[in-house]
């Protein structure tokens, strides 16, 4: 049985790590390659690198960064942000990323997931999904950096994505992002019930207990956080020890 994973996330813009609150108001958090290697040394199980500057013109710069991270890292890493086409995914994977995360582009054309999977295998394809609770209490999927609502409910979209060829779900609760108010446990359970894929919880980490809750109550397979790790408020070792004391098995 796979052990539960701890995944630091680097949001990168113009070659620097940044972090905002609810998708805006960015703060500089340092050099991505430096942070990535620090996390690997400190025992991160995996790394996610989201390029939030990602315009089409940015593809070359992104690949250079991916190559530098790949050369330095001895743990798996996922790259996402602005992956719009099979060509973008190929560029990222050929630069040395182990997995590629697709979000808005899959909403525009769900077959993109299957086309990447056919070439690199399902385990290379991460569906990143951003959702928030609407007035009726159901979770609505948003596109384009959480700015544009779609017609998809969270549950229906992850089911569809699994059929299309996604191999893992990275679920971010938009309203929790950067707020440190805890992960969206109900949303995580809903994703868990809707698919058989591994689920990464994102958005809302604030305390050690929040991580434990996402892994036990939320039944997530992995927990992701950014600023909490960048600004050294929580160390990976400390988190691992805390989870161990709660009988949650990690590496």
């Amino acid at each position: 049985m796979a052990l539960k994973r701890i995944i630091p996330c680097l949001d990168v813009r113009d070659g620097r790590t940044v972090k905002g609150v609810q998708f805006s108001g960015m703060r500089d958090a340092g050099d991505p390659v430096e942070l990535a290697t620090r996390y690997a040394r400190e025992g991160a199980d995996e790394l996610v690198l989201l390029d939030i500057s990602a315009g089409a013109e940015n593809r070359v710069a992104r690949c250079e960064l991916v190559e530098r991270v790949a050369a330095a890292l001895d743990i798996p890493f996922t790259v996402g942000g602005g992956v719009r086409s099979l060509e973008d995914a190929v560029a990222v994977l050929e630069s040395g990323a182990d997995k590629v995360a697709v979000n808005s582009a899959a909403l525009r054309d769900p077959s993109l997931l299957g086309r990447i999977a056919a070439r690199y295998g399902q385990q290379c394809v991460v569906l990143a999904v951003d959702a928030r609770v609407d007035q009726t209490g159901s979770r609505n999927v948003y596109a384009a950096g959480a700015s544009t609502p779609t017609n998809w409910s969270l549950e229906r979209w992850v089911m569809q994505a699994e059929q299309e060829g996604a191999g893992e779900i990275l679920y971010t609760a938009i309203d929790r992002d950067g707020t440190r108010s805890g992960f969206d446990l109900e949303g995580l359970q809903a994703v868990r019930l809707a698919t058989n894929l591994p689920v990464i919880a994102s958005g809302g980490a604030g305390t050690l207990q929040h991580f434990a809750d996402a892994l036990s109550l939320g039944q997530a397979d992995a927990v992701l956080a950014a600023s909490l790790f960048h600004f050294a408020e929580v160390s990976i070792q400390e988190l691992r020890q805390f989870l161990r004391n709660q009988n949650i098995r990690t590496r």
Partner: protein, 219 residues
Amino acid sequence: MNIVIIDYGVGNRTSVRHAFERLGVATGLSADPDRIRSADAVVLPGVGSAGPAQAALKAQGLDAVITGLQQPVLGICLGMQLLADYLEEDDAPGLGILNGSVIHLQRWASHGSLPPEKAATAGARIPHMGWAPLNAVDADGFTDPLLQGIVPGDAVYFAHSYALQDVQHALALTRHGDLLFPSVVRIRNFWGCQFHPEKSSLVGARVLSNFLAIVQNKK
């Protein structure tokens, strides 16, 4: 030391290359039969789908080259699976070096000899993604040179939906749900890892440096 990574268009060849570089060893990337045959050791990497991978090997005549190799060979993930008789994914024939079939984790029940109640993944997620322990096959722990210094329980990184069913050549086993699949195999000069040593931090680096030591000792 002349180590060749077989270049047949699969995903993780760069990562494997980087991993050897971190150990201070430069590798060559090649699909040239003569370069592969004359290497001190050969690595068959693999991230991708079985059908296209097998077709790419065959198209370049590398299937026959690989089966004829006498030097140490290390297959990684799909590269290990390709050493088997048969790959259920894409209904692809393997190289026939390892006995057994590579079957989707969810369909182990309908293949082979496992009773159905033992062959369910019991709610385990598929793909099998993440870190999981290597377990020894017998009470002596790990005795093969590839696993020198590795302790049963050490965790390594997996990312796969298919696994070899036959345990005959297993050096280590790993559990997913109720399934116990071979995570490291060996037959003669062929070793295989279902996990990714190039992505398994210090434990993975140890496996790769053990492989280099095997090559060094043979020289």
